[in-house]
Amino acid sequence: MQWLFAAFAVVWFALFLYLFSLDVKLNAVAKEIDGLKAKLARGKD
């Protein structure tokens, strides 16, 4: 049984790790876009 749970845990862990890394990257890019947009708006004044 513990083998099964080990494998199971690995799958979930990998999935979470991947989703987490995507989320971090998405947030970073979103932030970058906001910053750039603000800069663009300021530049137009």
Binding site: M1, W3, A7, F8, V10, Y18, V29, I33, L36
Partner: protein, 229 residues
Amino acid sequence: MARDRCGVLLVGLTLVSMIASLYMTFLWAPTERTMGDVQRIFYFHVPSAWVAFFAFLLVFVFSLAYLVRRNKRWDNISAASAEIGVLFCTLVLITGPIWAKPAWGVWWTWDARLTLTLVLWLIYVAYLMLRHYMPDPERRATFSAVLGVVGFIDVPLVYFSIRWWRTQHPQPVMSGGESSGLEPPMLATLLVCLGTFTLLFFALLRIRLRLQRLREEADEIQDRLEQTA
């Protein structure tokens, strides 16, 4: 807006079918007689392998599409699909030994399917490395498309060579091959899990593609900024 609803639907469907798969895998499916509970690894080992192969098939299809059409979207899909494919391929390679050890007493056997998965993993990790080390985006798209085509055409050749090689270098035969004597409830569970993993793949692909889209948007704004400056 329609796009958002589609995404929510996809994620919702994935979650629901995940719960169903968990229930079926751990509670509903009968325990296998010779291997015991360990055999339940099967229900996510095999779907992971399926998703990996499917992802690499998509890489091939969209690489070809890119070479013909030169549409950047196709390159994005190839890149995202290869990345997720490698993720699931890694899962196959990890869950495989975890299953093999208690079931057959060895971590690894050079059996045809496991070896093919390993070679595939190497090919597509190399694919991701090529992408990583190519500074020029247009060349990156073209080169990785060529590699996506070449790599996939290689798959049947790798498979046949390994299979024939196995017959010439016999190892102790593993009792209870992966699909021997699959009872109907087991098959049903497997099918549901296959569906779940496929849904999961598309959900991940969507997120990965959104990341790329945002990245491009950021670059575009940066471009506009530089122009006005």
